[in-house]
Each structure stands twice: as C-alpha cells, then as structure tokens.
Amino acid sequence: MKRNQLIFFMFLIAAMVFLAACNDDSTETSGSDSGEDEEITLEFWTMQLQPTFTDYINGMIDDFEADNPNITINWLDVPAGDLEQKILADVSAGNAPDLVNLNPSFGGSLAELDATVNMDEALSDEEIDRYVEGAWEASQLDGETFGIPWYLDTAVTLNNADIYEEAGLDPSQPPETYEEAKEYAEIISEETDKYGYFPSLDLSLPLQHMELMGVPLTNEDGTAAFNTPDGVEVFEYFTELYENNLIPAESLTGDQREGTNFYQSGQVAFGVNFFIAEIEENAPDIYDSTVPSVAITGDSGKKTMSVQNLVVPEQSEHQEAAVDFGLFITSAENQLEFAQLTPILPSSTEALEDPYFTDPPEDADPLELVRITSAEQLPDAELLVPPMDNLNELQTVMYDGFSKAMLGELSPEEALAETEEKWNEIVAE
C-alpha cells in the first residue's frame, strides 16, 4: 500500500515538475524594431469599444495597414472590468500587448513598476505639442510621461427640468457650486417626493470632491495635506447631506452607473458623472427634459477632466511601430471622426478647433449640449487626481473616511484624522 502511494505521489511530482518546466518566467524585453520591411504583428488592446465602435476601429486599422504594408494589427477588445487583470496577467507572463488603452491611474500603476515606455523620449517635441497640455500631463508620474492621451471628457451636470419645475425651480439656473447643490437638494426634497442631488463617491471621486472644494490632497512628499478646517468642512458637507436624507443612500455605496439609474428612473433631479448616451437610449422622456450645465464645483473653481490614454508596455518588441500606431489613432482627423460617434472630446488641439466643438447647432439636443459644455470647460479642466503610487489604496482610505463620517461611526474631525493617519502609513511603506 505504501509503495502504491509512493508511485502515486511520484506521478504528481512528475506532473508538477513538467509544468514548472513549461512555466517560462523569463520576460525578455527588447525595444527596437529591426528593419522597416520586417513583417510585424502589433497586439492592440482597447477597453470596451466593441460592438459600438467596431467599424470605426477596424477602419483605422485598415488605413494604417494600407500605409504600412509590413505591419498587421491584431485588435483585441477587453471588457473594462477585466482589462487591468488581463494586462497584469499578460505582463507577468511576458506576453504584454504592444499598445493598450488604459486610464491614467492604472497606467500609472504600470509606470510605477517601470513597465511602460517613456513617451517624452519616444515622441518629438512637435508631436507632443499636438495634444492638450492638461491631457498630456495627466499621464505623467515622477516627471515621466507613460501614455499618449487619446480621448477626454470633462464632467457636466445633468438637470431634469421636469423635477425642477415641480419643485418651483428654474431649470435654466441650475446649481454651479456645492453650496447651491445643497440648497437645491433641500428645496426639491421638500417640494417633491424625489431626491435633488446624487453625488457619486465611486473610485477617485472622494479625492476629486476634496480638490474641487479647495482642499489640496498632498504635500510635496506625498503625505496627506487634507486634514485642515477646510477638509473637515468637506466631510461635514457630505455627512449633512446623508444624515438629512438629501441624497440617496446609494450615493455612498453605488457607482456612477447607480447614479445614472437613479437619474434615468426620474428619482433624482441633478448630478455629475451620469452617462448621457445611456439615458438617451433607456429613458427618452427623461433625456428630452435634460438640461446640461457646467459641472458643480467648489472654492477651487476647478473642473474635472477624465482621460483615456494609449500605453506601450516596455515588454513590446515593436515599440517604435506601436508608438507610430498610437500617433495615428490620436491624429486630429481620426479623433474628430471618433468624437462625432460618441460624446467624447479629442486630445488633439487641432481637432478641438473644429466648429463641431465650438458652435452649438440651433435647437441642439441634450447630447450636443453636453458636448459643447464639455468642450467649453476643457481649457480650465485638469486631471484632479494625478497618477500616484498606491493610488487604489489611497482611494480606499479616503472613501472609508467619507463612509465613517457619513454613517456616523466617527465625527467628521475624527474620520479625517484617521484618514490622514492611514494615508501617511501607506505613503511611508
């Protein structure tokens, strides 16, 4: 019996050794393309663009391949929720794509590990100047640029005119500051059975609320700078909204999609970061009564910019070709075409000068008004939460601080002090 067990065990060991031998831990990195005539296949990944933009992307790929007969583009579209895991797994296995569409925070995580190509060196000054300055700077960590900005967005407030009228408010005078938002929320709550405001606290939004309300997040060395009277006011503001039932409880626990759901089901009068295209499709009546306006801001007067970029992993064996393809995708012509398919803004300064972004058509519909409002804000907009080390953990710490204050577990002062302490612990690691 023991002998049998030994044989059985040996089989297992053999299987494991066989697998371990198959597991190649080497991650060879070579950064140059050899020869222009060499047949090259570029792996290009995007984040959830199929099926809506399949034809657009394929059209670009066809054009690029026609201009570069030796290059074949292999396009893979990955669901947004899976992209980070997928790229991590592939980078870990040494199979990184050549060009990948990421957001600055995750791109920053890769850059932190020296896993991305430095675009300051890969692009000429002239090429860098093609992009909106704030968008270019959004993909920087420790002074190095790790991505080419692709498409942008600035936050816009959506207001449901019907609910405003029901509450006796003027939809053409929507709230522009946090204080006004609170006043409107109180009036709407009193006059209707609906909520006024849905301020999402998803992902980096707690950090953004801080910045917008005039509270700097960090000192030069990355340590917390937000434990100030102004910081306490931010926590108090959200705690009051929550405790007085002026915002749905789901503002704290839900994501931006939850906010969109509340808005498109007619339960909320206004908010930032809702998905207008989804509202148009799912709730035409709500969409028709939607009035877009400038994003709600605080003492800082700042506006939020969101950026999607294109990153070339250091592991790519065709970095030069990948950068060329990235430049091609982000050309003024291609970006303008993209922006005409969906309410986004191009990162190309030339494309932004097009009348499409500057001259509102007569009888513009909400979608067009969102585009115009978004573009008008762009010169003043910035990426409020730049890439920083351990951003995910810092976001969680701030979100937990907001939660503890809003749920009454700690006073705003205590919650903020605890947030500062945990923030600094992470920075010190």
Binding site: A15, M16, S92, L113, T396, L407
Partner: protein, 289 residues
Amino acid sequence: MKRQKLTPYLFLIPGCIILGAFIFYPMLQAIWLSLTEFNMIEDATFIGLENYENLLQDDLFWQTLMNTFIYLIGVVPALVIIPIFLAVLVNQNIKGISFFRSAFFIPVVTSLVVAGIAWDWVYKEHGLLNYALEVVGIITEPIGWLTSTSTALFAVMVVTVWKGLGYYMIIYLAGLQSIPSDLYEAAKIDGANWWQQVTRITIPMLMPFVLVVSIMSSISAMKVFEEIYVMTGGGPLHSSETLVFYIYTEAFSNLNMGYASAAGVILFIFTLILSIINLKVMGKKGNIR
C-alpha cells in the same frame, strides 16, 4: 504479473497530470508566493513570513474573516436543512410536481450577475421588499438593506441561500430516491406516522448526502465572492466584505499578490479544517469511513 500491478497506475496518469497542473502546482505556487513580495510584474522577492505577520496585524483582514464566518454560520444550516424538506415535498408522485422541481431549480441556473441585479431592485430603498413590508405595516420607514452596515451582509446571505436551495434539493432528491421503499412499507405496518417516517427513516438514510451538502455548502460559503461583488462591492464600510473579496482586492486592485496569496493560504487552511470537522462529525452519523 508485474504488468497487471502497473496497469491501474497507467490509468491514473492522465488524472494525475490534470490534478497536478490545475490543483497542486497552483497551490504550491500560491504557498511560495505568500512568502514573497510580488506585484505580478517585477520579480518576486522572498520575505519569509512577513506577509503573514502583516496580515495578522491588519484589522480589515480580521473583519473580513469574521464576516466570512458569519456568512458560514448563517448560510450553511439553511442550505443543509431547508433543501431536505424541499426534496421531501417534491419527491411525490402527484400531477405537476415536475413544474415545482424545475421552479426550485431555476435560481441555480440563473446567472449570478442577473440575480444580483434583480435582488438589488428588491432591496432598494424604494424597492419591492420595503414596499411589501410597508403595505403589510411591518415598517413605516424604508430600510436600506444594502446600504446599512447592519443589514448588508445578511441581505446578501439571503441571495446565496435562494440560489443554492434548488441545487442541494436535487442532491437530496437523488438520496431520497435511493432509499428502498420497503422500509417505509414496513414502518407503515408498524404504525409509524409521516413525521416518524421522516425522522426515523428519511433523515438517517440521507446522512451521507447531508455530509456532502454540508461540506459543499461550507466550502461555497467560505469562498463567496460573486454576490458580494455584484450587490455591495463589500460595502458599506467593508461590512459585507468577505475574505475572498479581500483577497481579490489586494491582488488585483492593490497589486499585492504575495500578501493576497498569504490570505489565500489562510483561507485554504480554514476551509481544510472545516471540511475535516465536517467529515469527523457528520461522518460518524453517516457511517462514512
């Protein structure tokens, strides 16, 4: 003669290779990673037991472990006991019974994402559950089932139970149909009523199946993830965050792969201990050796 002795082991080789590849190798790899600092990109650095030391000092780890045990205590008894009665109910030869068997099984084949969204609507402040409770007069103010730290975990537990009932019912149904009918006939002749038949024949004969269900549901409860991910994201304030969700966050959000592996090893040890206890306690009752 020698060949005869070797033949069974040759048949075992494919299974061993598959087990080695997909179970034992990743398991050993995880144990190794738990002793390193690894972010999936840079090479792993050996740091000994530091991950374990840090874990034991992490309040959130203890909170998620506690949540996992609460989940276990709440969900397992329900998933072991209720399906027995469901199986007894649907084990009748009456017209239309197959409809009920199918109806109880529908949640099992429903995608968890879809189920999660549907239950989300049920639990919303202005959702079905609060409306029903208000109509009946049980509550006057809506309850935030998924937005309150005191109810979120229990609300998700209900979904796990709802989804698992049909699955375990089918296991018990197979068990019930394997009980010889002459036992019941003999019991009837001896004057046993329905309840006595259930408690003296059905349940004792089902004990091996109870053991299987107990182990399976315990392991499932220890590994619960999808319901939490879809319905609460671990919130509010980590009140519904379980150990697997914590491992997922540490691994894929914070890129602390070594640390997450250490938490995974601890989860494995707890699950193993639980299964052994199950086997010891239930095994005696089910005469399983």
